[in-house]
């Protein structure tokens, strides 16, 4: 059974398709315009589960929808904390006497980054054609 479309319907569908294509083409520009209007429309939020990129409301509050958030992972110093929920309170830490020879270093120590196991491996050659 052939599907019949009137000329008017074809124009309507064609018009919708053109509008859709225009919106798709303009989406990056619209996104940049929105970002230029409010540079903090997306902010990084430090959470117990790691750093997330969150879309914010005008007052700076992140959007409640977790789907709007992008997980960025933990910062370098978080490895010092392991899986503890929070460090012991600073007053407890500061009250601890330093044992001789165990004085804390001045400043924040850098977390030692683990070198990957394959660091000694040679780079792969491109596939031979």
């Amino acid at each position: 059974m052939a599907l019949r479309c009137t000329r008017r319907e074809r124009w309507r569908v064609g018009g919708l398709a053109v509008v859709a294509m225009l919106l798709l083409a303009l989406a990056p520009a619209l996104s940049r315009m929105q970002a230029a209007a409010d540079p903090l429309a997306w902010v990084q939020v430090c959470t117990a589960g790691g750093l997330v990129q969150a879309q914010t409301q005008p007052d700076g509050e992140p959007m409640p929808n977790p789907a709007e958030h992008l997980r960025l992972g933990h910062g370098a110093t978080a490895s010092l904390q392991a899986h503890a929920h929070a460090l012991p309170t600073a007053d407890v830490v500061l009250a601890q006497p330093n044992r001789p020879g165990h004085e804390p270093p001045v400043g924040q120590p850098e977390a030692a980054a683990q070198a990957p196991l394959w660091r000694q491996a040679q780079a792969r050659a491109p596939p031979w054609v």
């Binding site: 903090l40 430090c46 959470t47 700076g60 929070a86 600073a90 400043g107 924040q108 030692a112 980054a113």
Partner: protein, 197 residues
């Protein structure tokens, strides 16, 4: 051809928020009990950190990066003021905030207020924070991980992203210092020690 000419000015990854209508001023207390506002630091480039002492993720990295940037600036580092505002005044006493800020750089100043003033200040700076209960009655804070930078005239200029390096921060600070040369790039660190803060 003109469009292909290399620019001497390095690209910044910081957010340019010049002209923002928030973060205009604060009224907080330093560890000595003096009320401080942004105008007290007029003439210096100000780096403003919001965080809490027990943060093990972004706060120490940002503070350490700020201190490293000051070192990279050399003598001009004395024209930059680092300020740490605690979002956890219930646990971070004046003494703790002072010790925490100064362990990163002796010139850094820790600021605090009561919880209500802290909430008002955070709202004015579009800084979000929320308590996250943990085990044993402890808690952590989710908070916005941004460092604000003010120029010597006290105008809000930049929001530093957490992934920026100390060298990038130093470059941005140098651009805000009048007649300050861009610091020489530091030698690239090896992959095993690069923290990227």
């Amino acid at each position: 051809m003109l469009g292909c000419a290399p620019t001497e000015r390095p690209q910044s990854r910081a957010l340019d928020i010049s002209g923002a209508n928030y973060g205009l001023d604060f009224h907080l207390w330093d560890p000595q009990g003096h009320e401080r506002s942004l105008s007290d630091f007029r003439g210096k480039v100000v780096m403003l950190f919001f965080g809490f002492v027990q943060c093990a993720d972004v706060c120490p990295a940002a503070m350490y990066r700020g201190a490293e940037a000051l070192k990279l600036l050399g003598d001009d580092g004395s024209r930059v003021q680092g300020l740490f505002v605690t979002l956890d005044p219930e646990r971070d006493t004046a003494e703790i905030v002072k010790a925490y800020a100064e362990v990163f750089h002796p010139s850094f100043v820790g600021l605090r207020a009561d919880l209500q003033r802290t909430q008002e200040t955070a709202k004015h700076f579009k800084v979000y924070f929320r308590k996250v209960p943990g085990g044993g009655g402890s808690y952590s804070l989710d908070h916005t991980a941004i460092t604000y930078v003010y120029d010597p005239a006290g105008r809000l200029r930049l929001a530093l992203r957490s992934e920026m390096s100390a060298q990038e921060v130093a470059n941005d600070l140098a651009r805000l210092l009048p007649a300050a040369p861009t610091p020489a790039p530091v030698p690239a660190r090896s992959a095993s020690t690069g923290v990227g803060v």
